[in-house]
């Protein structure tokens, strides 16, 4: 079931963008080394390196990964309005900071079709920016503002992009990994 939804989403996204951004060539598996006879068998196998596929099932749920320049409000509109998808409910917006890039993850749910979809959007760490979907899902209003407030990712297209939890004059974005906590000011030092 989930695999069919994923295939459908990939097909629709490719059709919309006109290029196969979610295509992925499976790397050839490395041939297994045969253990030499005089060598002791290794106790533990090395964990296989995780391969990130742009369209895959994540814990049984479809998830696609896009770059922020491919993501647009029009693409989001297609996900919401397409007869076969109808992702009308936005569950969650998450922002994550990595060393080289930042990610925004949208979790969608279709109340009509009972489908789930995760959309992960990667954006560069300097001037992170992801097209806002607030004009389509009002649920994104506060959730995108929260991501902006705590991680500093900009959402162009949002009607009211300003801080929401911290005060307006706050400096920095606390959930960034390089944010320096002033322990002295907090009385922790």
């Amino acid at each position: 079931m989930s695999q069919e939804v994923l295939d459908l989403v990939v097909e629709k996204v490719h059709g919309f963008l006109g290029e196969e951004v979610l295509a992925f060539e499976e790397p050839e598996p490395e041939p297994e080394e045969e253990p030499k006879e005089d060598e002791k068998p290794k106790r533990r196998k090395k964990p296989e390196p995780k391969i990130e596929r742009p369209a895959d099932l994540n814990f049984g749920r479809p998830m696609i990964i896009l770059d922020s320049d491919k993501w647009s409000v029009e693409l989001a509109k297609m996900l919401r309005d397409d007869e076969e998808l109808q992702f009308d409910f936005l569950s969650c917006v998450t922002g994550v900071d990595y060393d080289e890039h930042m990610e925004v993850i949208y979790n969608f749910y279709s109340t009509v079709k009972d489908y789930y979809l995760g959309v992960k959007i990667k954006t560069p760490r300097d001037n992170p920016s992801v097209a806002s979907i607030e004009p389509l899902w009002k649920a994104a209003d506060y959730m995108e503002r929260e991501v902006y407030d705590l991680l500093g990712i900009d959402f162009p297209g949002h009607w009211n992009m300003k801080r929401i939890l911290l005060q307006d004059e706050w400096e920095g974005h606390p959930l960034r990994k390089d944010y320096v906590t002033d322990k002295k000011a907090l009385g922790l030092d």
Binding site: R61, D88, C92, T94, I164, L165
Partner: protein, 370 residues
């Protein structure tokens, strides 16, 4: 004769008795009609998500209690369930039942307190006393099993902290009987009251489209005819083993939301009753690794997990990088999303309905501000 009016800005809060916490509403009013509403929040912000990144996995559980402190059991559960998903652990049978019983008891306590305070907000004092009397029965049971009345810290990654004390299940069964009678009184006392109906019927009406577009969930969504309860649509834990209904009303006003919550009280009692019958008499209460290992290391992965709290969809997005501390914990708090609708639904309403509408959303500020 025409009367000249001009727009005025009226501040409601941050210290206002009916916001049940520190929440500020900046209302632009023209005469008695609201032209614009701006919720201002963050007074209770404690940086929970940032704190999570500095702790090992198990240390964050007590902090989830302090989000929605009226419904702390489900907060405990969702964080543990989110981590368990990454670990791929199976939870012992008895622990699952204890989780269900405590979560549903907590849902009852949460709805009861809402019922009492909502009526207090719109001018009825005595229901508050009834609500607190009955909530005491629930809190006693939860206190006996977890040792706390509100911030339980009861769930653990892989199971629960304590087994039920001797005779506790019997006591819960007794309490269900008492509560069933008490909750029936609510209908006699309030539901048919003409003044109450005049204050809540056709007030703060939300359409189905509005509810879905604004991401509202829980009793608010079900009051507007959206038949979604995550316990049914995506049964987590062992909710698929119980026979219960999802109450739905179609009118979408404050009265419909009231009716949904009252009906949910009865359904929660049904679930508890069945769980008390089915629970295995003995068995493990925590996954054997969860009981032994303090430094839990989930494999590098990430997942979104969701559940039905008393306020709506609660979710957690956990990102692990294979170390002992979570790389990122995102908490989807239902009240935070639900409160955003105020910008839309208060416009054009009369100022005397603000409290009746705000109260009907059942917002807890600890959860809004995280």
């Amino acid at each position: 004769m025409s009367i000249n009016t001009e727009e005025m800005i009226l501040n409601m809060g941050p210290q206002h008795p009916s916001t049940h916490g520190v929440f500020r509403l900046k209302l632009h009013v023209n005469g008695e009609t609201i032209t614009k509403a701006e919720p201002v929040m963050g007074y209770l912000h404690r940086g929970s998500e940032k704190l999570a990144e500095g702790f090992i996995y198990t240390q964050f559980i007590p902090y989830t209690d302090r989000l929605d402190y009226m419904n702390a059991m489900t907060n405990n559960y969702i964080y543990c369930a989110g981590v368990e998903k990454l670990l791929d652990w199976e939870i012992p049978e008895r622990a699952e039942y204890l989780r269900i019983i405590t979560m549903e008891l907590n849902r009852i306590a949460s709805h009861q307190l809402w019922w009492g305070t909502y009526l207090l907000d719109i001018g009825a004092l005595s229901p508050f006393l009834y609500a607190l009397r009955d909530r005491e029965t629930v809190l006693d049971r939860l206190n006996e099993i977890s040792g706390a009345r509100m911030t339980f810290n009861y769930m653990r990654i892989g199971g629960v902290k304590w087994d039920a004390p001797d005779g506790w299940i019997e006591k819960v069964k007794e309490s269900v009987k008492v509560l069933r009678e008490n909750i029936a009184e609510y209908d006699e006392l309030v539901t048919g009251n003409e003044i109450f109906q005049a204050r809540t019927m056709n007030v703060g009406t939300l359409t189905k489209e509005q509810v879905i577009n604004w991401g509202l969930s829980g009793p608010i969504a079900r009051g507007s005819g959206v038949d979604i309860d995550i316990r049914k649509t995506e049964p987590y834990s062992i909710y698929d083993r119980f026979d219960f209904e999802v109450p739905v009303e179609t009118k979408g006003d404050a009265y419909a939301r009231y009716k949904v919550r009252i009906a949910e009280l009865h359904q929660s009692l049904n679930i508890i009753e069945q769980a008390c019958e089915q629970i295995p008499a003995e068995g493990d209460i925590i996954h054997k690794k969860g009981a032994r290992i303090m430094m839990i290391k989930p494999p590098a992965a990430e997942a979104y997990t969701r559940a039905e709290a008393s306020k709506g969809e609660i979710g957690v997005y956990v990102v692990s990088n294979g170390k002992t501390k979570p790389y990122r914990v995102k908490l989807r708090r239902p009240s935070f999303v639900n409160v955003s609708i105020l910008q839309d639904m208060l416009v054009g309403e009369s100022i005397q309905n603000v409290v009746a509408i705000f109260g009907s959303l059942d917002v807890v500020l600890g959860e809004v501000d995280a």
